[in-house]
Amino acid sequence: MTRTVDRAAIVVAVLLLALAGVIFWDMSRLEISSTYGLGPKAMPIVVATGLALLAVGHLVLAWTTGLPPRESPDAKPILLILGGLAALIALIGLGGGFIPATAILFATTAAAFGRRAFHIDLAIGLVLGTAAYLLFDKLLTLTLPAGPLERLF
């Protein structure tokens, strides 16, 4: 049996090694340490070492058994949901308010799960967002980001 190299495991190994490097670099900039016992550097060293060892483990894995088999994913729904999240972040960042932002996320997620009625879903999302806003902002006095729509209430 010929063994192929599992590229995913190598990617994980590289990521883990990079994370270990970042922790190590960040830790080396800490100056103050405790008088007795362990300072703030000890735990980062442990975690960075652990991540580096796990990276080695993944490299071994890549050339032996590999990560568990998986099916080929459908990229379109993933992009739709991430796009919805990006739109939500942009709308909230630009002061568009909570209700329209959640309406867009609702509609894109529904589309990602195969719905083909974007406008209807957008309307449902608006109703849901408004209900959630009224319930949590007004009734439970949580602060949700307000835009032009929210100021009407």
Binding site: G37, L61, E71, A86, T102, T109, A110, G125, A132, L144
Partner: protein, 499 residues
């Protein structure tokens, strides 16, 4: 009997109308999320954390516990009526339960699951009631080094010992520990891994991580493989009631399931899957109807369902007495305690007996509520499964975003939600366990704190870790738990080569 007096006092707290209402909301929500595939009790508690921030701590915690218990009840409904279990704890139930439903015996399957859950939940809550005060007595003697060692045991068993792959489990754990490092070091006031981003100085919000991993990650994963087949819902046909023979075949599996579930849940052994599968294989071996196994044997539903409920109660033992979460839901409940500045442990039993015992007493009430909700009203819950999948997941994501916004209304926080969501997707795709990440984030800083306290008391002498007999024993257990899966796998491979 001090315990009975405390319990009676707790019962007086639990039957206050507001607390009864919280318990009812908890079990309703818990059953609903248990029935719905894609959301579990851990995610629900995570979503509710920011929302309940301003509510009464006692009431909210009663609600969280109700969600935990309810999730275990509701999961069985989905497992029996659709073959895909709502929760991993219900996977064993699906094996026989779905076969029973296909054979038109869905009613008795649901009934034995609900009654078994009630029996097991009540016995296990009794176990919690009498074990907790005793364990508190032990825990009072724990020094910081002992707590540190205990957390090491929890880290290892949750991630490495019982999962599919110790390598992947430990990777998840260390990602969690890494996330736990982020923020200001409490002892020296220096920022770690914050890169000058002010939002990172307070550390990673547990809510954001949990909601990203559980809700966004799950939605991405399910959406990406939607084309891999649809599920069919089996209608409940015939009588809901169990026959005399069903009762006769169920009661022993209920008790045996409880005996598996409660101790394994109480040990830091990670979740409810192990006792449910142990119970399933035991019932399979002991049954007088071996031909029915694989075609819908009622024992195979009764045992695992009892086991998963008993393990939920068992998980509360180390959580309440030691502050040690051993499952994802327990970790979220610990975050719930922390958000009110409460630290579960011996001190909480001494300082806030009304809260702890009120919570324990409310578990008995929640169990009764759940039996009523699940037996006659099961038809109502089944209707939840009719919600179209696109709207269900769209709704989940809207509430996920809202929970994060409510916790910290910032663009940075929402971006982290998206990143954690992608991480959750990748972890599901490559089969990395999720719970160790959450446990690492919550327990990592606590463990670091205890270790540094232990070493500053000992003036920097690391031998303190092995000089305390409790700590030495626990560290030895952690080491064995870490090495055992590798050794056993090595032996397995060796044998395989011999054959």
């Amino acid at each position: 009997m001090d315990t009975l007096a405390s319990l009676a006092h707790g019962m007086a707290v639990a039957v206050q109308p507001m607390n009864l209402l919280f318990a009812l909301i908890g079990v309703l929500l818990g059953t609903a999320v248990g029935v719905l595939p894609g959301i579990g009790p851990a995610l629900t508690v995570a979503l509710l954390l920011p929302v309940t921030y301003k509510l009464d701590p006692g009431g909210s915690l009663i609600m969280f516990a109700g969600i935990y218990y309810g999730g275990m009840y509701g999961g069985s409904t989905t497992a029996i009526l659709i073959n895909t279990p709502g929760e991993s704890a219900s996977m064993a139930t699906a094996l026989e339960g779905n076969k029973m439903a296909k054979a038109g015996r869905g009613g008795p399957a649901l009934a034995t699951a609900a009654i078994g859950s009630f029996v097991a939940g009540t016995i296990a809550t009794l176990g919690l009631t009498f074990l907790a005060p005793w364990l508190v007595e032990v825990a009072v003697r724990f020094g910081p080094e002992d707590y540190f060692a205990l957390m090491c045991v929890a880290f290892i068993t949750v991630s490495a010992t019982f999962g599919d792959s110790p390598l992947r489990g430990l990777t998840s754990l260390f990602i969690g520990l890494l996330l736990g490092l982020i923020g200001i070091d409490k002892l020296t006031g220096q920022a770690r891994l914050s890169f000058g981003v002010p939002e990172l100085l307070d550390g990673i919000e547990v809510t954001t991580l949990a909601v990203g991993l559980f809700a966004v990650g799950e939605a991405l994963y399910v959406a990406s493989r939607r084309h891999h087949g649809e599920e069919t819902l089996e209608p409940v046909r015939g009588s809901l009631w169990m026959t005399k023979d069903d009762w006769k075949r169920s009661w022993l599996p209920w008790l045996r399931g409880t005996l598996f579930g409660f101790p394994i849940g109480a040990l830091p052994a990670g979740g409810a899957e192990i006792p449910t599968f142990l119970s399933y294989s035991t019932e399979r071996r002991l049954t007088k109807h071996p031909k029915e196994f694989g075609n819908g044997a009622i024992e195979g539903v009764a045992g695992p369902e009892a086991a998963n409920n008993a393990s939920a109660a068992g998980t509360l033992v180390p959580l309440l007495t030691l502050g040690l979460p051993t499952s994802a839901t327990a970790a979220m409940m610990l975050a719930g305690f922390q958000q009110y500045g409460l630290n579960p442990g011996p001190l909480l039993f001494a300082d806030r007996p009304d809260l702890v015992w009120g919570l324990i007493a409310s578990l008995y009430i929640a169990n009764v509520m759940l039996l009523v909700l699940n037996l006659p009203l099961v038809g109502l819950w089944v209707r939840l499964l009719a919600i179209p999948q696109p709207w269900l997941y769209a709704g989940i994501l809207v509430f996920a975003a809202m929970g994060t916004i409510a916790a910290k209304p910032s663009v940075v926080e929402l971006s982290m939600l998206a990143v954690f969501g992608l991480m959750g997707y990748a972890m599901r795709r490559y089969d990395y366990p999720i719970a160790p990440v959450v446990v690492g984030l919550i327990l990592g800083p606590v463990a670091e704190n205890q270790l540094r306290r232990a070493l500053s008391i000992s003036l920097g002498d690391p031998l303190v870790l092995v000089e305390s007999p409790i700590s030495a024993t626990l560290l030895a257990i952690a080491l064995i738990a870490l090495v055992a899966p590798f050794v056993m796998r090595g032996l397995g491979r060796f044998r395989a080569q011999e054959d």
